[in-house]
């Protein structure tokens, strides 16, 4: 059989491989690239929308099986690659940043910073370029969790500065703008000013994902960010119990009001795994995150267990996904990263997006 005929058969077979999130086959999505045929040897790339794709292995083996079953094919080599697609926006800030993920909660103490840090690292472990912005101006805890000593940021040209770097992440935090242990005492309008600086004056470079760790609540920082930053999607963190859910509910409604797409809910401190018996103990009740997600018809992106390693990791500056890859919490964070990336890719395919960069000069 000549190559063009075989190539056609291979493509026909690949048209039956569906991306389960985007609900289209990988050929019409344009994922199949660089196909080479050498006799019966078939080689091609599958270029996904994110290296954190949760179904990467499943898609790969489906491609191998289906192409391998074609008569005349001797061997199949599938190379999985990824180019993160940008969420379209035309605002003049954060131009090198493809996707901005806001991590929020209604209530404090649910583990937003821990989730943000581990989510950011889990995304970067897949090969993506990731930044982490600590937008909790009054209580910045990202430097501690990342193990970054408090030093002034390196100054760049034109009033800009460089983010700190650790574990392959680029990090900014208000903690770097003060002396160690000194509180930042500011009134509301100043908060907006600092956030503006983080958006406009930081040399982020090229990023696939920028994770923003928001302060708790629905106040100045949240408003400034939703007005000034082209946020691609928001993740709301809650713990399973009722008092936390009431506030998380408000967090979700805030994003709905300002029309920031909700990627979903993360249930933190979901359960405790006892080291002796592997049994899941649901200390703070069960099913809270799921019921919140159901109420708003948004996905429950993940359930992260309470394990001592999470706290130790946060305090020692080696987040658990870096320090203990086999921990159930690390696995939960990696799954979460996959889900967040998948939801962003799904949102990008929707066509009723709002143009945040709209501007109209009136003619008279």
């Amino acid at each position: 059989m000549s190559d063009p005929q075989l190539q056609e058969k291979v493509i026909e077979a690949l048209k039956t491989v569906q991306d389960p999130d985007l609900h289209k086959n990988i050929v019409s999505l344009g994922f199949v690239k660089n196909m080479e045929l050498d006799g019966g040897k078939v080689k091609f790339d599958v270029e996904l929308t994110t290296p954190a794709c949760p179904v990467k292995e499943q898609l790969k083996s489906e491609c191998e099986t289906k192409v391998g079953a074609i008569e005349g094919v001797e061997s199949v080599e599938v190379n999985m690659t990824a180019v993160v697609r940008p969420t379209q926006h035309s605002q003049p800030i954060l131009t090198g940043v493809k996707n901005i993920i806001a991590v929020a909660s209604g209530k404090g103490g649910v583990g937003k910073s821990t989730v943000s840090t581990n989510l950011a690292i889990a995304l970067s472990l897949t090969g993506a370029k990731v930044g982490l912005m600590d937008a909790d101006i009054y209580g910045p805890s990202i430097p501690q969790m990342m193990g970054i000593p408090i030093t002034s940021p390196k100054v760049a040209e034109e009033n800009k500065f460089y983010p700190h770097e650790k574990y392959g992440l680029k990090v900014v935090s208000a903690a770097f703008l003060t002396k160690q242990g000194q509180p930042l005492m500011l009134r509301g309008p100043m908060l907006g000013g600092i956030i503006q600086q983080f958006l406009q004056n930081v040399e982020w470079g090229e990023l696939d994902y920028l994770v923003i760790d928001l302060p708790p609540g629905t106040g100045d920082v949240q408003l400034t960010l939703t007005q000034k930053a082209p946020i691609s999607g928001a993740v709301v963190v809650t713990t399973p119990q009722e008092v936390s859910l009431i506030d998380a509910d408000k967090g979700v409604k805030m994003f709905q009001q300002v029309k920031v797409p909700l990627l979903g809910i993360v249930e933190n401190m979901s359960y405790f795994v006892c080291d002796g018996c592997d049994k899941k103990h649901t200390i703070f009740k069960e099913g809270g995150g799921q019921s919140l997600a159901d109420d708003f018809k948004i996905p429950l992106l993940g359930k992260v267990p309470i394990v001592p390693g999470v706290v130790e990791g946060g305090d020692s500056g080696v987040p658990i996904v870096m320090g203990d890859a086999e921990s159930p919490a690390s696995k939960a964070y990696k799954e979460l990263a996959g889900q967040v990336a998948a939801q962003l890719s799904i949102n990008q395919t929707k066509d009723d997006k709002i143009d945040a960069g709209f501007e109209l000069a009136w003619k008279s």
Binding site: Q256, V258, K259, V260, D352, F358, E359, L360
Partner: protein
């Protein structure tokens, strides 16, 4: 439910703004009417909701100079009287629509 979003915002004539929404609705707005209904804290008392703009105080010569999106949920007008603090949410703009097509919907909303 989230409110519809503008698909296209355009100048219809010297004193009229038009918005086509993503649910297909076509809305028209005399610009003076928009200025008179500015939702900012200078124009509406934040606690009581009382209108602070004196009736008849906005001149017929009022025009926007520039119109910009604010985040994904609102629009900001920069007026030729120097005022620019009002953020008109999509929801508010639906209520302010002056086209006849929108009357039944607004009556229904007011009756609730």
């Amino acid at each position: 439910m989230t409110t519809p979003a503008p698909k296209n915002i355009k100048q219809i004539d010297e004193t009229t703004l038009g918005i086509t929404w993503n649910d297909g609705r076509e809305c028209v707005y005399p610009v003076k009417w928009l200025r008179e209904n500015c939702p900012c804290a200078h124009c509406i008392d934040e606690w009581t909701g009382k209108k602070l703009i004196q009736p008849g105080s906005i001149p017929d010569t009022i025009r926007p100079l520039n119109i910009k999106a604010v985040g994904l949920y609102a629009i900001q007008f920069f007026w030729n009287d120097g005022h620019d603090t009002g953020l008109y949410t999509h929801e508010l703009l639906r209520q302010l629509c002056q086209s006849e097509e929108c009357e039944p919907e607004k009556k229904a909303a007011n009756a609730q």
